[in-house]
Symmetry: C2
Subunit: 199 residues, 2 copies
DNA sequence: GCGATCAATGTTAGTGACTAACATTAGCGG
DNA sequence: CCGCTAATGTTAGTCACTAACATTGATCGC
């Protein structure tokens, strides 16, 4: 539930109401603690204790400590939007146009929640990499689509990595400054990719 | 000593001959063990034991296990090359042109060593992020240069993130396939950024 | 209601990366 | 050869994370 899951695809876990409640409680507790003590200053033991469960239970609901912030299920919407772009475009343009379209087509459900999370990630050096890793599946999906339309794999990977990196930069810039708007930042990022941004 | 240290800038540590020898022994031992048992299958205790030192000594020479593979000191050459590009170009073009020039200007001392390391990093999911983190200082340097030439900071960060991401993709693609040449891969990456790459 | 069942949680014990504090050794200059 | 300091060793810890097994609790057939 961060940024590459644009349309709100949910986890396939067949969860009971109790489990879902526990997960939600852990998630909320964790984010609050991160904001107060910082990510590194918050231990998984603290999160579990504050949520009233054992540490083991924390790891049953989240793959890792990072997993509290990053666990986007793969969202096919992005890949579909890219597939819809003309194959005649240079790959990087095709990806940027696709992402532009994907973002324009939706409206994020709870923008402020996302902003809080991205802010934590953007201000913690060790988490910047995690944000990137969270997009791995999305990158793979984009690459697969480009390749199936005839783009050589290395080229496809370079193009998607570049665009997703610019997008990530846009997200962290947006999260860091409350006066900015997500749409505007993303638009700037795609403009940068398209070489349309000057100076 | 990986990829963002193009001109061989060395660490500023005032090292004795003995310490340098120990460091080199640990480094070589570690890479060999990584290649045999995989990165995750190699413990720091194994590395230390194989090198004939205590585990503590390992961490005195390397910040972390990842640090064995990634510890590029910041290389000002790249930033200089970017600074030399015309300020009239769109930021992303300026960065790609600068990196193109930087890579053309040098020849990597021991290409095969680099390839071994990048291969380990590229084939270990948890290390892909580390490669990226290793370039943080370089990214910051590029951003600083662009900003001092009038580019707004968010734009500068989007542009450098995008180009470095494409470059990283080129490096992993090169390392994964022994029949490819580094220069050709990098050239392709910059072509992708410039939108010159078709299909 | 009542027990059975299975998911959800707890407990315990461990591994591996990494740190801090303090003790020891080894090589160099005098 | 002595002493000094850098380099290394030892010990004892913290924290993220895992495995194996025990326990609770909600829901379902009855």
């Amino acid at each position: 539930m961060l940024v590459t899951n644009i349309s709100g695809v949910s986890h396939p876990k067949p969860v009971s109401a109790r489990a879902e409640a526990t997960r939600a409680r852990l998630e909320a507790t964790a984010v609050e603690l991160f904001e107060v003590h910082g990510y590194e200053g918050t231990t998984t033991a603290m999160i579990a204790a504050s949520a009233g469960v054992s540490e083991m239970t924390f790891f049953r609901h989240f793959r890792s400590k990072e997993g509290v912030l990053f666990d986007d299920p793969y969202d096919p919407l992005i890949v579909q939007a890219i597939a819809a772009q003309p194959t005649g475009l240079p790959p990087i343009r095709r990806v940027s146009a696709g992402l532009r379209a994907a973002w324009a087509a939706i409206s994020l459900p709870d923008v402020e929640t996302v902003r809080r999370r991205v802010r934590i990630a953007g201000t913690t050096p060790s988490l910047r990499a995690g944000m990137w890793a969270n997009m791995a599946r999305t990158e793979d999906g984009i690459v697969e689509q480009l390749v199936s339309d005839g783009t050589p794999e290395p080229i496809a990977r370079m193009a998607s990595a570049a665009v997703l990196a610019a997008m990530t930069a846009a997200l962290t810039a947006w999260a860091a400054d409350d006066s900015t708007m997500l749409g505007a930042m993303l638009s700037q990022a795609f403009d940068v990719i398209d070489g349309a941004s000057r100076a």
